[in-house]
């Protein structure tokens, strides 16, 4: 086991990739481009926040409903606010509540009905997508509140708001994981649920709360994403689903649970976004972009995504 934390490896890697890109594409390396990539990574990073918690919680924890919930968050914001900045607060409240409620149902199903997380959240993704279709019938009226667009894309000191928001979320996640009882107990639950329970940890409570937070964070991600995309469509969040898992894993959080950090996920999001941007800037065909992206993912995983043999 290397002493270097995976989060640092991922961060170094993304920086290295950036300058490597400079060799291939000299006009790639400049501050604007760097900021642009971090901004793109911010959305993936925000959406992957809940995924990080879920994966740390172990028990084959995974949340495949984040994509659908992101879409729902964006659509709800779009519809409720109707483009009015005054109604953004209402939209925020509803979005958070709905996201949390979906996560809560996931958590309850997983903990009390004992449905495997992969299956439960996959089913939930279908239900959420189905609900969106049934309610909107493909016709989504509404608008993007100016305040939201300003918040996400507006620049302060040359840096877009999304990046500040992401940094803020990073601090918040660090606080939750390292400086709250929930965070400490989450790691314990991820390593060994029986030990945790026999040490007085409310394991069911921690797991349910984790999926609830995941739903809430995904919905919030959808709201913020709307400020960036400025439009909604039914597959808006889906494209973030597997990258959100990949970002967590590339960031060194172990899929078996019990170990990891959100800083790692942030670095993972940077690596993934960097790779994608690099490939796009090289103007090679879509087919080869996919091949190279897949190959890079495999290489990244083999560098530090190895799982320990279960004893």
């Amino acid at each position: 086991m290397s002493r270097v934390p995976p989060a640092a490896v991922a961060l170094l890697l993304s920086v290295a990739l950036f300058f490597l890109a400079g060799l291939v594409q000299p006009n790639f390396v400049n501050a604007a481009q760097a900021i642009n990539i971090v901004r793109l990574a911010a959305f993936l990073g925000i959406i992957a926040a809940g995924q990080t918690l879920v994966i740390i919680s172990g028990g084959e924890g995974i949340d495949l409903s984040v994509g659908a919930v992101v879409t729902l968050g964006a659509i709800l914001t779009f519809m409720i606010s109707g483009g009015s900045s005054e109604r953004l607060w209402l939209a925020l409240l509803v979005v958070l509540a709905v996201g949390a409620a979906i996560g809560l149902v996931n958590g309850l199903g997983i903990v009390f009905v004992r449905i495997p997380p992969l299956v439960m959240t996959l089913g939930m993704a279908g239900v959420v997508q189905g609900t969106i279709l049934a309610v909107t019938r493909g016709n989504i009226p509404g608008g993007v509140p100016r305040a939201l667009a300003n918040l996400v894309t507006g620049r302060f000191l040359g840096v877009p708001g999304a990046i500040y928001l992401w940094a803020l979320l990073g601090l918040l996640m660090w606080f939750v994981l390292q400086r709250t009882r929930y965070g400490r107990e989450l790691f314990a639950v991820g390593v060994n649920r029986r030990t945790a329970a026999l040490s007085g940890v409310n394991v069911s409570g921690v797991v349910v709360l984790t999926y609830t937070l995941s739903g809430l964070l995904a919905a919030l991600g959808g709201l913020l994403l709307l400020g960036f995309t400025q439009r909604v469509f039914l597959t808006l969040g889906e494209t973030y689903l597997f990258p959100s898992i990949a970002a967590v894993v590339v960031g060194g959080t172990v899929l078996a649970g019990g170990r990891g950090s959100y800083f790692g996920t942030m670095a993972g999001a940077l690596v993934l976004t960097m790779t994608e941007s690099l490939l796009r800037s090289m103007r090679i065909g879509e087919a080869y972009q996919m091949i190279v992206f897949g190959a890079i993912l495999v290489v990244l995983l083999s560098v530090y995504g190895r799982q320990r043999e279960r004893e």
Partner: protein, 319 residues
């Protein structure tokens, strides 16, 4: 009561079988011509490729893995087939294409197996990553949908020799293949490795090799599935298989196979596919407004998956 004999373990498909009977009965109610050969054949044609794919997925899941690249593998083999075969191709070209398809399927599976079994990468993310590789290659091979098969082949796939649909023979062959495979040490070791890898290793089972083989076998099943699918569609599309990945997993779980591995079987997966397909049929025929169909579909599947757990929950409360 805990099932104490191996019998129930070997017959995990009984619950999904009941589900299937109910689904068929309902379908028959809404669609009285369900059992007419033409309708039945149409249904089976849709089911067969996914059944073959789910059978492979079941083997991987039994061994404790999972494969999210199966759809991409199907796409890859599909574009390969339509590239090697044209409407005018004769038997030699077709045979060559079949051989190439199996080879490519096995090779793709070997890539997954290598990563998961020997490099010990996490299966979910790894096979997700390799799905990009396979999709990318598929897109490079066939950038635009197209291609065609000799008419004789597609006609054969739709035919009904001796009054039984050709696809029904396919399903029978698939089940027969499972009966044969179940007798092999390889499949026995899949269960052992998925159930307790450390114990299997201590007993002299080559754990990594068994895992590797499970993915290679998956690749072969994906190639077979792609052949069926190509016979059904008669053309190629580099995204053709994408939508099959998640259903293949849902079908396996629906068929009573535990995602954690070590238990379950192909029969359940095959039944799972039938249940999934019939549920879709039902939704179409039961006059559910179009916009609600996706929701309905998802809720029914979620309930089917959650069913055993809910039953246990209620039982647990009573005890």
């Amino acid at each position: 009561m805990r099932p104490s004999s191996a019998w129930l373990r070997n017959h995990t498909y009984l619950v999904p079988l009941v589900l299937l009977v109910v689904a068929v009965a309902l379908n028959y109610y809404f669609q009285p011509n369900f059992f007419q050969p033409r309708v039945l054949n149409g249904n089976l044609r849709v089911m067969l490729p996914l059944m073959v794919l789910a059978a492979g997925q079941a083997l991987v899941i039994i061994a404790g893995g999972i494969d999210l690249s199966v759809g991409a593998m199907v796409s890859l083999v599909n574009v390969l087939l339509v590239t090697l075969v044209t409407r005018e191709s004769g038997p030699p070209e077709v045979l060559l294409a079949v051989g190439a398809a199996l080879l490519v399927g096995a090779a793709a599976g070997a890539v997954n197996g290598l990563c998961v079994a020997y490099l010990r990468l996490q299966p979910i993310v790894t096979t997700y990553a390799t799905s990009f590789l396979f999709s990318g290659v598929a897109l490079a091979v066939l950038p635009r949908p197209g291609g065609a098969l000799p008419r004789a082949l597609t006609t054969f796939y739709r035919s009904a020799p001796l009054g039984v649909p050709a696809t029904a023979y396919g399903i029978a062959l698939l089940l027969l293949l499972w009966v044969v495979l179940r007798r092999t040490r390889f499949v026995q070791y899949l269960y052992a490795v998925g159930g307790n890898a450390a114990a299997a290793r201590a007993s002299g089972v080559r754990v990594a090799f068994t895992r590797f083989l499970s993915y290679v076998t998956m690749g072969l099943f994906a190639a077979l599935s792609a052949m069926m699918l190509t016979l059904s569609t008669g053309s190629g599309n580099s995204r053709l298989g994408d939508a099959m990945t998640l259903p293949s997993i849902v079908a396996v779980v629906l068929g009573g196979t535990r995602l954690a591995g070590g238990q379950g079987g192909v029969v359940g997966a095959v039944i799972g596919v039938a249940v999934l397909t019939i549920i879709r049929n039902l939704i179409t025929f039961s006059n559910v407004p179009t916009w609600y169909q996706t929701l309905f579909d998802a809720v029914v599947i979620l309930l089917a998956l959650a069913g055993p757990g809910i039953v246990q929950l209620i039982r647990g409360r009573r005890a």
